[in-house]
Subunit: 306 residues, 2 copies
């Protein structure tokens, strides 16, 4: 982000805070949210959930954490080491505890006294799903899931649209390559319609993830060449740098391979997910329609039941 965009982002953040919709917590990119913000977010969440019911998805909800062993079976730490959250705790005895408290008191580094738990923070809503389906053979219908939960990405920013913890409502498909691609195509069209109905003009565009390091550049090229990622973008903090409010990822066998999810013919399944960014969509609505929900377009309010 350029300096100008950061300034615009910070300005919008300050407006949201002044309005009481977001509440500063002392850490960049981590906010409390007001009841008004949450009501709009939950209304959109429910609306999206209803839109997915025609697919008869299996509804699953996961906590904000994922088992470390399962996490390490993915390539996340190869691709995004800078974004991870590893959960550490204290395993010591009473005298170790007293020494740790002394360090805290004396403003010394104290977290060396901690050891890793079996948990990482969930980097994307669908990560905890694949391990629960491990070592299974899908039937010809494949499987479809409806997920919602918190993800964590360690990227402190003044941009209110770049939170360190945020929620997404995701629909995940497991099956043949055709089924996975069909899911992608269905949701790219459906999401554009959903946003249109709300009065938000969001178009799908080819996209890429921010892979880490020089090696990451090759992965960006490969991801774009294979057209694996699409995003729907709208202006939130800046017109020139619109923000992704929903995204579609075709994973090929990226998750099915390590967790051994197969088709009846013995081949490794393919997976795809489509995720609606709940905080980002809510921020986009406040940007487009203003901070007073009562004054939002009646069509938008009616669709969301607000």
């Amino acid at each position: 982000m350029t300096h100008d965009h950061l300034e615009l982002a910070e300005q919008y953040q300050k407006e949201l805070v002044a309005e009481g919709l977001l509440v500063q917590t002392g850490v960049m990119g981590v906010y409390g949210r007001s009841g008004v913000f949450e009501e709009a977010l939950e209304a959109f969440d429910q609306f999206v959930r209803k839109q997915g019911q025609a697919l008869h998805p299996e509804v699953m909800r996961f906590s904000p954490v994922i088992g470390r062993a399962n996490y390490l079976k993915t390539t996340h730490i190869e691709s995004f080491p800078n974004l991870i959250g590893s959960v550490h705790s204290f395993y010591g005895k009473e005298k170790d505890h007293l020494e740790m408290l002394r360090k805290i008191q004396d403003l010394e580094e104290w977290t060396d006294d901690l050891d890793p738990t079996d948990l990482m923070l969930t980097p994307a809503i669908c990560y905890p799903l694949y391990p629960t389906v491990r070592d299974t053979v899908l039937n010809e219908n494949g499987r479809t899931f409806d997920l919602m939960g918190f993800a964590f990405r360690h990227e402190p920013s003044v941009d209110p649209a770049r939170m360190q913890t945020f929620r997404m409502h995701e629909f995940v498909r497991m099956g043949t390559p055709e089924q996975a691609l069909g899911h992608r195509d269905f949701w790219l069209k459906k999401a554009e319609e959903i946003y249109q109905t709300l009065g938000i003009n969001a178009k799908p565009a080819l996209a890429n993830d921010p892979f880490f390091g020089r090696g990451g550049r090759a992965m960006v090229v490969s991801q774009r060449e294979q057209e694996l990622k699409y995003e729907l973008v709208v202006p939130i903090t800046s017109e020139e740098k619109p923000t992704a409010i929903a995204s579609s990822n075709y994973h090929l066998d990226h998750f099915s391979q390590p967790f051994n999810i197969r088709l009846a013919n013995g081949e490794v399944a393919h997976t795809a997910c489509f995720g609606f960014g709940l905080e980002r969509t809510t921020l986009a609505m406040f940007k487009k329609f203003g901070f007073d929900v009562k004054a939002w377009p009646s069509e938008t309010k009616s669709v969301l039941g607000l």
Copy 2:
């Protein structure tokens, strides 16, 4: 917990998993939840929220994380070091990354390459609230908040009622000692009524927190002598060892002092919170009424809108 209670707890956990209500994730005390489980939980959450509306609370929602600096202003790490979750991430360059990946590959300890972020996992729903009200003077009405979110406690257990991440719906009062105690008394009575309406017989009982170490024993005595904590308990995994499904904590100036929340007369305010355990209440309902929500008592379903 005795061996017998653990066996009963594990047996109930296996039933919940066989029924598909909870989904194993490979880590003790961390589960996926089915749509049926979540629907019951959300219905109870909404019911409780409505019960609190008469108090005209300020609705606030926080993420599962709290700023480390604010966390360290509380005494949590003195009292419960064994339960904490500290969030660590990777700050290195490309060559450090490659070396970390090599360690992971070779099954060496790799988390030493991480450094602490500005975040801890939230140990209780109301912790992130107090810093947002820091350095304020309350008017004569004090303030009342409606909170809901995820807490983390690192205590892996086979008992499904002892999850490492779980949600509570909390009502927090800030004001005079009388206002804080009034809040406690109001909610202990109201919660008993709420559970009675649902067909669950839960009585308030004096309780204490599991303070760490030998020094913790004195804190248990002090907490009980001052009657600071009450819990509503019901049998979930065992009749002899009932589980707390809601709890009331009168904090005195425990939070108002470090965050400088004052009354108009200059005195430090007092705070109290009442929290409904959402997973535990849901588990209590499944235990009492069975796994088939359709077969639950019509009064219970009607109250919850199920």
